[in-house]
Symmetry: C2
């Protein structure tokens, strides 16, 4: 029975050309912005210069912090925080993909945080102390994938000498004040990155769809609507990156896939993401590629425990007829179709395709341990439907070989 609290105060400014508004938007929150970027694609595309131009025109001065890596590290966050403090920045802009936006959120909170920021991150299912305050955060996504622009979560990799862990934080002070979402910025995203984004979007939705409570028919329909739309428009964005209508639809999907609207009240968990995070932490596998490998395997495992839900997925997403089939066969047919879709847009769906090299049983066991180091319930299981013991995580990984 649904019982929940929902809150998302991020203002969303969406549409081709909206980058122009960045300066005006930011000037409402501060006079000196830390402008956080990633590996340089925003400079190549010219978006960076346009952003800086818009900021300067609005009398916002800019302190640049570039070079946030994929799977952003806490040490990077801490360096950027030092810069923000030294320069007395009063607003943080994250312009880039999920890594950049996530790092920006944690930078904005770390500025005020007493103690080591690792204590605000989830470790073994617990958080020492959440931040109570953050500088105003403005997000400018350049990739349609994580949905980080309009939610209060961030994925960060702890890279201390004593601890290496890809983990996360989710707390209200991290909500961006404004997300300036300009789908034109995604035109230059390469084909394969676009495909990984599509996979990430769909996986955000399937996590809630398969791991949430029963009795959420509206959320089910919302989830199906996002998946169907992404499966229609995603391949168009992959095959022709300059198709602005496709870019718009995919970017809009990426936002609603993780701004809370689809998962609201479902009390969901995200076991596929948790398992994948271990892979990308250890091998710098692109997140979307890792998800494409783990999700179908996880689905085949989980379908045994909730076949009727996976049967619904098969029917409503792929229109597969239920005639003469039991739920589990129908479920498996749907999962096969889903895996085919992922392959059709160029995603890998097997561990062997991730460039990790030879994979041993010991490695699977280690990955399961690392996953549970981030999050586990009181019985030591990874939350989800069903909650997963270590051996079951290993079984899923084996199914992905």
């Amino acid at each position: 029975m649904m019982k929940f609290e929902f809150y998302n105060p991020t203002r969303l400014i969406f549409g081709a050309g909206s980058l122009e508004q960045l300066g005006k938007v930011v000037s409402q929150y501060g006079k000196k912005a830390l402008l956080v970027t990633g590996g340089g694609s925003v400079k190549k595309s010219g978006a960076f210069d346009r952003a800086v131009g818009s900021l300067k025109a609005a009398s916002v001065s800019v302190v640049e912090f570039s070079g946030v890596e994929p799977n952003p590290r806490l040490s990077t966050v801490m360096r950027a925080t030092e810069l923000a403090k030294k320069e007395e920045c009063d607003v943080v802009i994250g312009m880039g993909g999920g890594s950049v936006m996530d790092a920006s959120k944690v930078i904005a909170a770390t500025v005020f945080y007493k103690g080591h920021p690792r204590d605000m991150l989830m470790r073994a299912g617990k958080v020492q102390r959440l931040p109570e305050k953050a500088l105003p955060i403005i997000t400018v996504p350049t990739l349609a994938a994580t949905g980080s622009e309009m939610n209060c979560g961030a994925v960060i990799t702890i890279d201390d000498e004593e601890e290496k862990l890809k983990t996360f934080i989710k707390t209200e002070v991290l909500y961006p004040k404004v997300a300036v979402v300009d789908p034109e910025l995604t035109i230059t995203v390469p084909k394969i990155q676009t495909a990984y984004g599509v996979c990430d979007i769909i996986t955000h939705v399937t996590e809630g769809y398969f791991n949430g409570i029963d009795g959420t028919p509206i959320q089910d329909r919302f989830a199906e609507g996002v998946i169907i739309t992404v499966m229609e428009w995603g391949p168009k964005a992959v095959s022709d990156g300059s198709n602005i209508e496709a870019r718009i639809q995919v970017q809009w999907a990426s936002i609603v896939a993780l701004n809370g609207w689809v998962q609201v009240g479902t009390n969901y968990s995200a076991p596929v993401h948790m398992i994948e995070h271990t892979l990308s932490a250890l091998y710098d596998v692109p997140h979307g590629a890792g998800l494409a490998v783990v999700n179908p395997a996880w689905m085949r495992f989980a379908a045994r425990f909730r076949p009727e839900r996976f049967a619904q997925f098969a029917q409503r997403i792929f229109g597969i007829s239920a005639m003469g089939k039991d739920d589990l066969s129908l479920a498996m047919e749907g999962i096969d179709r889903f895996e085919e879709f992922l392959r059709s847009i160029g995603c890998p769906t097997r561990l062997s395709e991730l460039g990790i090299g030879e994979i041993t049983e010991e490695m699977l066991s280690y990955w399961a341990d690392k996953t549970l180091e981030v999050i586990c319930d009181e019985e030591g299981k990874l939350p989800g439907r069903p909650p997963l013991r270590k051996e079951e995580i290993v079984e899923i990984l084996r199914m992905a070989m």
Copy 2:
């Protein structure tokens, strides 16, 4: 092509039993609450006493303003505002149906408003001056219908000596801080009121679905999801008011039907609501009943201009086969089914059933004029797809006879 701004900062606390949290919630915003209620049903049901108990336990003192009428009048709002000022209330709680919540929002804004509050309301498509500030607003819906609990709109009837007009206001300062939504409070809603609520919810969604821009596939799916869910659970709530699961699903639907998630980016208008408001303003027709009459007639008119969209409605909502049919026939079949649904839950679908008495052509003409007095575009038409000239509004009303 989608280009829009979205913002909805209302915190939603949803679930059976959540009324208990009211005091704690309100105490975060004020110490002395104006508690606005309607005709007394909250007293009969005991909800009022429980609310007051929760407020007192949280050291919030209560100033009662009861008796907000259906189709709430500006004069009532002004009396309540005087009371709020005199008593120095610092927070406004609207506990009741849409009328009560809408009145509460406008009371909260009128407290700070310089000049006559009629100037903040829409007249002939224009607003003199929107309010810039409002007391914190907390909503506690006791009916699943308007969705007012989580949006920034309010429908108010101007009842000056010189002017009588059912009109509205929509502006960000009217967003409730918190909506405390307890579906248990709707258990006592009578059958017919429940049915009207169901009609209101569906109509909120169809307005966006039929009057929005093209190229919003996710919003289409969201809209269809809400309609399908309400058509499944609404009749259950109507036939057995104590079915809490049905009450929950219908109430949740009522919120998402008008909190902006379904209509976001569609740039929609609401011609059916605008025409209906005239009827309920003049004859105190229940809003949901009026909608049930106007909507099918409007749909039959509008389908000629956008048959493919109404054909989609027929297929996706009712699963009607398109085989061998042109879009318009398919559309009309869907509208017939929709009208049958409304009748099946006890709604009227003809003007003659509204208790207005004999209806003349002069009356239809007057109603069209009154509707355009509230809102019209630069060419004097009622916004929608298609925009409606006076004669077309009359034609629609004639089709509803």
